[in-house]
Symmetry: C2
């Protein structure tokens, strides 16, 4: 597993659009730099995976376990009424798993967030506070 | 488990938008009645589940196993270059899992299919042929 992680490189587009949160066993966690929604991306640290069903059964189970932890973290947030889960990858082929905390008052509700308006980046202070609280919840 | 299945009722909106394929152990499978994409919906036969992380660990694993089988079926189709996976539920709260076979030439590419244009229902013959081939692939 260590050799695989060593080979892992985050796609430059994901790198540019997101902020680092930390690493769980399988996934690197990133915060989408869009203050309109709490939106976390899980990227399994595996080379050349583009589809969910390409992960081994064990990796899929680990992904879901890590996804559940992160979903529980999002569900604790005051504004979150619903969690959208998705792996799309039409633009960035590297497999990545979206968890988006949604609210009936968010600007894209009830539509999907992908392709909806423009991202509104966090201020440095906002991002720092949010990332810190996510790390605390997940014990990172 | 049998009692739970007996209590299960498909949401009327899902019922209206989709065609019956069959049942796996956990999920009822439905074909979205939209000939623009091969689009299958898995609905775990459980009452009052609205979020992925509300399913038990065992149920989540079963969902992923069933999802992988259906994804393999979609991946076999000539037009499918990418599979989008999602649980949104902003409009229909009943938990349901989308698997959508995408192609670079489909009318919504590279955007998401949700909220994109109007569904184009299958003819009876098209739907019958497609459902039959899915059932054969999945041994239903």
């Amino acid at each position: 597993m260590e050799a695989q992680v060593a080979m892992f490189q985050l796609h430059p587009r994901l790198q540019a659009d997101t902020l680092e949160i930390g690493r769980l066993t399988l996934c690197e966690l990133r915060l989408m730099n869009d203050s309109r929604f709490p939106w976390i991306i899980l990227v399994p640290m595996r080379e050349a995976v583009t589809e969910l069903h390409q992960l081994s059964v064990g990796e899929q189970q680990l992904l879901l376990a890590e996804s559940s932890s992160v979903a529980n973290c999002l569900a604790e947030m005051e504004t979150v009424e619903k969690i959208n889960v998705a792996a799309l990858g039409n633009l960035v082929a590297q497999f990545h798993w979206h968890l988006v905390g949604r609210s009936r008052t968010d600007p894209c509700w009830p539509g999907p967030v992908w392709g909806c308006g423009e991202a509104q980046p966090y201020t440095g202070e906002q991002a720092e506070g949010l990332i810190l609280s996510i790390r605390r919840f997940l014990d990172l």
